[in-house]
């Protein structure tokens, strides 16, 4: 093996893209606490210390094309133990955001696109959603102590707005009941919305700030329109 083939010419490196980030990766002392603490280190050879060093060296293409930023679970333990206060999850998220959108792994990008277009990650139509919500409410009403239970939809002036995880509408409707029964028992004045009810925001995971802004903006819109002051965002 020619040892020189692995030598990086520091003069040819463009540090620009990472240097401007406020994540302090330049302060890394290479102690390795991040990698030691990481629950995902070793998966696909993932080594957070190396990821931080690669950012320090400005190895943009290598990082953007690497699986590593997507192996990270964003748990933040690395950041907690890092003696230099490097914001490693933020750095990881930023690297994810640099990847071309059609190369975002798994269903993440599809979900985001569906959410932007239809209001939820699964593209569930409005009529279907209302049907499911009322069906779940009817089931609750059959239980003792919940007689007459109704789901308040688009209720103006309610005290609390709650968003919904798409999975709870699709396959886990039982999980909707727990929340709703608690609201009922607590005599909460609550509501859900018939449009744009999605609580997940996968742009958070893919480094897509624009979609995060749109998703959060919709919730703000609901609260303004329905004059609701409190939000429960069970994500």
């Amino acid at each position: 093996m020619d040892p020189t083939e692995h030598i990086i010419n520091l003069d040819e490196i463009d540090h620009g893209i990472f240097r401007s980030l406020p994540f302090c990766h330049g302060y890394c002392v290479t102690c390795g606490l991040c990698s030691s603490s990481c629950p995902a280190s070793g998966l696909d050879d993932f080594d957070p210390r190396k990821l931080v060093r690669m950012a320090g060296l400005g190895l943009k293409d290598e990082l953007v094309n690497s699986k590593w930023p997507w192996v990270c679970t964003m748990c933040g333990k690395c950041e907690h133990v890092c003696p230099m206060g490097i914001h490693i999850p933020d750095l990881v998220r930023n690297i994810r955001g640099l990847r071309e959108r059609d190369k975002v792994p798994g269903i993440l990008q599809k979900g985001i696109e569906a959410a932007i277009k239809t209001g939820n990650n699964l593209g569930v139509p409005k009529e279907d959603f209302i049907f499911i919500a009322e069906d779940v409410a009817d089931e609750i009403a059959e239980e003792p102590g919940f007689e007459g239970f109704k789901v308040p939809i688009d209720k103006k002036g309610a005290n609390l707005l709650t968003t919904i995880h798409n999975k709870l509408v699709n396959t886990h409707t039982e999980d909707l009941k727990h929340w709703w029964k608690i609201f009922h028992a607590a005599k909460e004045d609550w509501t859900i919305t018939s449009d744009n009810w999605e609580g997940t925001s996968w742009g958070l995971f893919t480094g897509d700030d624009e979609s995060v802004k749109i998703m959060a903006g919709r919730i703000v819109e609901h609260m303004n329109r329905l004059e609701i002051k409190n939000l429960m965002w069970p994500e």
């Binding site: 302060y27 102690c31 990698s35 050879d45 133990v81 003696p83």
Partner: protein, 358 residues
Amino acid sequence: MKSSNVLVIGGGIAGLTAAYELAKLDINVELVEKTPFLGGHAARFTCKATECCEKCGACMVEEKIQKVSQNKNIKIHTNATLNTISRNDRFYFNIHINGQNKETDVSVSKENDISISADAVIMATGFTPYYPAKKPYGYKVFDNVITNLELEEMLRNNNIAVKPSDKQAPDKIAFIQCVGSRDSKLNHLWCSKICCASALRMARLIKRRQPETSITIFYIDIQGFGNDFENFYEKAKKDIKLIRAIPADIYKVENERLKLEYFDHLLMQPIEEVYDMVVLSVAITPKNESKELADSLGIETYDTGFIKSCNKDDTATSNGVFVAGTAGGPLSISESAAQGAKTAWDVKKYLNKNQLEF
């Protein structure tokens, strides 16, 4: 020529050396030490000689204590707290003696409060070892997690390493370096300088006396100082396992043993390894009270909290106040001693100059 009086604050290796060197120059010294004993941290350190002397400097302390105790020009005040300091050309101090102490009192006066005046002051107030309870290593939670300073004392007193839990010899020891050093969250951006060599020396000492012991040192990068370090390091690498990673978690397992988790960047996988004893190489940090003292003496501290000494070779800028030893930053025993001696000469120069002016 009137005889000068110099106050030395702190009876560690730097203060002892400064006091002794000044005394040899026929200058009267008042040596004030807060604790009942002279020698400071280093007095509790172990000699680390293996096949030959490893130049750790631990033996210098006893020799210095003896010389200082026997010198007629040095007045020793142990168990003494500095109460008031004022300045009017000379420095005026009030010292409070907390009880009587027969062991080290050579010429201490009987009164509990003593007023002293001095022409110059040396701050040799030393350091505080970082207290690692907040780091994720279970210090003071698990019996067999100790600091490097505690290991020093253990080796000095017992000759061998023993587990605090059952006083038996450990089969496997891990050292974790840089605990509290190079840490921006603690505002400790410095390297404590001595811990790499100290850990390697203690590891080799244990290997020599307890050859069956397996020793691992977790490090960031080995900071070696001194002209023969490379040689020593090469020898140490032969019988000590060196792993370039700092573990992030510790768990107690059966028999008070300790499981460390780290990522091995060569095997590219997370490793769990069980040890009998874990030694934390803790940072050298500035003393809180040193800042207060520096303020009252009119000298500056660095942002780190260590004390700024006067400009090199320009004793006039000192205003009569000098700094020696680890009060100014991390130093080894021999460096502290050397700085103590150098400071004595600086003080002498300062006094000479001032006497000409009077």
